[in-house]
Symmetry: C2
Subunit: 369 residues, 2 copies
């Protein structure tokens, strides 16, 4: 195993879609680093989040108290799950409160510390939020080694999304060599890693993604056995062709019609992992349940939900194995990096729901942005 710097495939895209700040209803782009620009939630969205659901606020850059440190944030993790955090009501995590800084996983560099475990210059990951600077007592914070992998990769294959794929397939679905694994949202952050892990474990892997370019990427670059373009293919028919023995494991990131199509094609004893349901997150009508759920009975199949937090005590072990695969070139981490500032967060988030990203969506922001 090489321990040298990994060459992740990082796509750099400058500016968020659509030219921030060109229309009056957009948030003003922060221009100064002496103050801390923050994005706060001002309303619970109905459907897709609107510009008026957010507010750009400023505060003085925080000063650490004893036992604390301050981080200058350089990269924000942009995740479909964020949409769920904006809703009222109990879920696997507390909703973001109205008026609070939007929750986000982020990477940054320690700029001031009164904490014995952290020094200026340390690179760290934590739930620092959509802001330029965060104060932390170290709870839930992980130190990163930028010599081992590019920082965005710590939000991709080596981050929560990669770990979700890892534990979802290996611990929840318990994939076995020779099984047929279908992944939806396959060109997304979790799906693209999930499909590769299944290939590494000797499975036949079919990805479902939107658009021909993503499908070509899945097969040609990531080594999927086949890809189905849900925008132009008949998914049910394509699954019938691609999974003649049925689906042993379906790793679902999207819900809706695609989940229903997969349910028609299960193998006996199939396992469905419910990782997410991006097709439903912005629904203004009630979530549509899987009409074909009685296939669980017909095929003696199971459907199980997962949240990566439950595996926190094994993150280190998993990340080390994933880092090994990256170093050996067996795993490709693709990050879709948008360069901008925290003010670009609202529009960058929408890229997820428009299917504009390939791989892990990251907003590079802050002092260097």
């Amino acid at each position: 195993m090489s321990t040298g710097r990994l060459e992740g495939k990082v796509a750099i895209i400058t500016g968020a879609a659509g030219g921030i700040g060109t229309t009056p209803d957009r948030l003003e782009r922060p221009r100064m680093n002496s103050i801390n620009h923050q994005v706060r939630l001002t309303a619970r969205p109905s459907g897709l989040p609107k510009p008026t659901d957010w507010e750009l606020t400023t505060e003085p850059v925080p000063v650490p108290a004893a036992g604390e440190f301050v981080v200058a944030i350089s990269h924000l993790s942009i995740d479909p799950a964020m949409r769920g955090w904006m809703n009222a009501g109990a879920s696997y995590i507390e909703p973001v409160q109205i008026g609070a800084v939007m929750r986000a996983g982020a990477i940054g560099c320690v700029t001031a510390s009164e904490h014995p475990g952290y020094a200026s210059g340390d690179h760290v990951y934590g739930a620092f939020g959509v802001q330029e600077f965060a104060r932390s007592d170290g709870a839930g914070v992980v130190k990163l080694d930028p010599s081992l992998a590019p920082l965005p990769t710590y939000l991709g294959a080596l981050g929560a999304t990669g770990l979700t794929a890892y534990f979802g397939l290996l611990d929840v679905a318990r994939i076995q060599e020779g099984e047929t694994v279908v992944v939806s949202g396959a060109a997304g952050a979790v799906g693209s890693v999930a499909g590769q892990i299944a290939k590494l474990k000797g499975c036949r892997v079919i990805g479902i993604a939107g658009g021909q370019a993503k499908c070509v990427w899945l097969v040609d670059e990531l080594g999927f056995d086949a890809a189905i373009d849900y925008k132009s293919d008949d998914v049910r028919k394509a699954l019938r062709e691609q999974c003649p023995q049925g689906i042993d494991v379906y790793f679902d990131n999207v819900g809706g019609d695609i989940l229903d199509a997969a349910l028609t094609r299960l193998a006996r004893g199939a396992r469905i992992v419910i990782c997410g349901a991006v097709s439903q997150y912005n629904a203004t009508e009630p979530v549509r349940g899987p009409a074909n759920y009685l296939s669980l009975l017909v095929f003696r199949a199971s459907m199980k939900g997962m949240v990566v937090f439950d595996f926190a005590d094994r993150y280190g072990e998993a990340a080390a194995e994933m880092a090994g695969w990256l170093a050996e070139g067996k795993l490709v981490s693709r990050e879709h990096v948008v360069t901008g500032s925290v003010a670009d967060f609202p529009e960058t988030l929408l890229m997820l729901f428009n299917g504009e990203n390939t791989g892990k969506l990251v907003l590079a922001c802050g002092p260097q942005g």
Copy 2:
């Protein structure tokens, strides 16, 4: 353990609902035993089965060939699953073909035998179909001991329905002492046994059933901790009150709104067993999937389908344990016996979907009917 005859609680009801044969569109009641009256499927129903979906046919009473025997059927098992067997399309079992005798589990007495393993007078269970006499080579046939339990009990707690409850709770859900178990269709054949097994294993058990009489029966006669009347209670609110720590195991026989209500009240790591979905079997619109299925993710829960056939190699062991519980008075098998003839089958089947039965629905028919 007593080995004497068990006093099952058998409710005897004479005649099917509504006076068979009083209107011209009803099947004619068979009156002779020299011919074999049969009920055949003539059309695939849309919604509730109609009289015109059936045909009463006659054949000579069959004569056994070498290796065969003939059974005079005395009791037909009437099951919600029958509705599924009437639909076209792949399921866990082949559909009943148009023109074929309707499939049914049944009990009867051997009247003629050219099979070395069966003699006239033997009591047997098998998939003999809705007819007065069946010819069999013994495949899938089980011999019964009428001195151990009343014959209808072999279609109830000691039959496929009781075994479904047994394996569903013990093998699929793996209930543990102290857990909260919720059973829907709790006054039905499977549900009433499931709730009692969960009580035997030290669980807190809440049943959901239709109507106050059934609810009183569940609590007063079967020892459920509580019962929710879905016809008059707010099921979601009642589950919140009755399951303050959440539902650990939900054993679902009904689907629809009640499944959705249960999904809102899961405990972390809950297991849902999908045994059936009687609320959906006669739907003329597509099955409504559980809109709250993302609770599986929130609560890290699983939903698993089961079919009792998969446990066939352990039927004997399970039935022996259940017989012990019956003998010790720890388990009550209630059969709702309608006395009539095979011609009463179509109307008797509808009782299941109207919620008219309490416990296992059985049609006592044939020569003694």
